[in-house]
């Protein structure tokens, strides 16, 4: 009896801990995997750097490193096999005094970049839906 109970608990624990590995990665795949994300982040960053609303935010930024971090962050957000280990969004954007105008300008560049990579609008929205709540941490002004 005791043994059976232990087995049940163990089985439940296995299921529980296995869950993250079985997490839904359909969005990650719909974005074209790591390669697809890398491609649109490249284009997205190019748009940021010529966007008069936010270009100045990147004056002292190591662009290559930022792109790398963005790819990992989007990959993890989309359910892909990446682990973002950098500071959280609140810390990263601290002291930047970002507004909704800045936040939305970034979103618009991202949409354009995903359009360029022929990522369907509905797939774009699934990613943006997971990113939208970060507005509360990113926008401080």
């Amino acid at each position: 009896m005791m043994k059976k109970a232990t087995m049940t608990v163990l089985a439940a624990a296995c299921l529980f801990f296995a869950a993250p590995a079985l997490a839904d990665d359909s969005l990650y795949r719909d974005l074209g995997g790591l390669d697809g994300i890398k491609k649109f982040v490249d284009v997205e960053m190019a748009y940021h750097l010529e966007n008069p609303r936010i270009m100045h935010q990147f004056d002292e930024t190591n662009i290559d490193r930022l792109k790398e971090q963005l790819v990992i962050f989007f990959c993890q957000t989309a359910g892909g096999p990446c682990k973002y280990t950098n500071h959280d969004m609140k810390v990263v954007h601290q002291g930047m005094h970002l507004t909704n105008v800045d936040f939305n300008a970034l979103v618009e560049d991202m949409q354009k970049a995903m359009d360029d990579q022929a990522i369907p609008f509905s797939v774009q929205n699934r990613l943006l839906a997971r990113l939208a709540p970060y507005q509360h941490q990113v926008v401080t002004k």
Partner: protein
């Protein structure tokens, strides 16, 4: 009416000319995402076509101001409704709107002895206050954006309204609106409860010989976003039936909205306004153009 047309022309000119747009104060930040300002509903508030939404009109963010003007025309088999107006959104918190409505009775006017083309007019002053939530950003919760609003309506045909059994020519609607963007599903959903005494939106006055007091009515909309520029959807709006002279039915529409850019949107719909006085099945084409920033 001419004034509104002039306003339309001025705003359209201002926003289409880069030189003038460049001179606009920074407070007009046009910072909201495309389509998230909604369009202008029949009574001038930010919303869909029939329904008032919880979204604050215009493209101003919480640090800015937005403004727009609109023209809406509804061509029904026996009537014609025109609406024009202007609205401002202040810091994504407060919305103030004005709309002028003309309801042309065309041939029915003659049949009723009022004269062909007899037209009811309404001035509608609206105010809306966002209470909580953000329909767009709060994707991690089911909580919608909630706003309260009022629409004060003044009709110029008091004598006729009294003759058909209406209680008054002036009335105020109060509403509570909830809007939520289900972004992962590309779906914008809205539900509104309205306390009103209005007969046919106020075109036939307020209160009546069948029912004089306020009643609670419902407005619902669902819009599917096809792309950043296009949305299609449906709306339903219930209306009280206060007058003995004729039963007043509910209204619904199917719409397609084209957000050309943040300065221009065009909405086309098939609208069914139910029966209106002595004519049944008043359904037809709905066109609305909004320009602003």
């Amino acid at each position: 009416m001419r004034l509104v047309l002039l306003g339309l022309a001025v705003v359209a000119g201002a926003v289409s000319s880069p030189a003038m747009a460049g001179e606009l104060p920074d407070i007009f930040d046009s910072g909201k995402l495309l389509a998230t300002s909604g369009v202008s509903q029949l009574e001038g508030a930010g919303g869909g076509g029939l329904a008032s939404w919880a979204l604050i009109t215009g493209y101003g963010t919480r640090n800015g101001v937005g403004a727009n003007v609109h023209y809406t025309g509804v061509a029904l088999p026996d009537y014609r409704l025109d609406s024009m107006g202007a609205a401002v959104g202040l810091f994504d918190r407060v919305e103030l709107s004005y709309a002028w409505q003309g309801f042309d009775t065309q041939g029915v006017g003659a049949a009723l002895g009022l004269g062909k083309g007899y037209t009811f007019h309404q001035n509608i002053f609206g105010a809306k206050l966002k209470l909580i939530g953000n329909a767009v950003y709060d994707q991690d919760t089911w909580l919608p954006q909630l706003s309260i609003g009022l629409q004060h309506k003044e009709n110029d045909r008091g004598a006729i309204i009294a003759a058909v059994g209406g209680k008054g020519a002036v009335g105020t609607d109060f509403y509570l609106a909830a809007s939520k963007l289900f972004l992962a599903q590309s779906l914008l959903v809205n539900a509104t409860v309205r306390e009103t005494r209005a007969n046919q939106l106020g075109i036939l006055g307020f209160g009546g010989d069948r029912h004089g007091d306020y009643s609670t009515q419902f407005e619902g909309s669902a819009a599917y976003l096809i792309s950043r520029n296009f949305a299609v959807g449906a709306e339903l709006r219930t209306k009280p039936s206060n007058l003995k002279i004729a039963h007043e039915g509910d209204a619904w529409d199917l719409f397609a909205a084209w957000f050309v850019n943040k300065n221009l949107s065009v909405t086309l719909a098939y609208a069914d306004m139910g029966n209106i006085v002595i004519r049944n099945n008043q359904h037809g084409a709905y066109l609305s153009v909004q320009t602003g920033l």
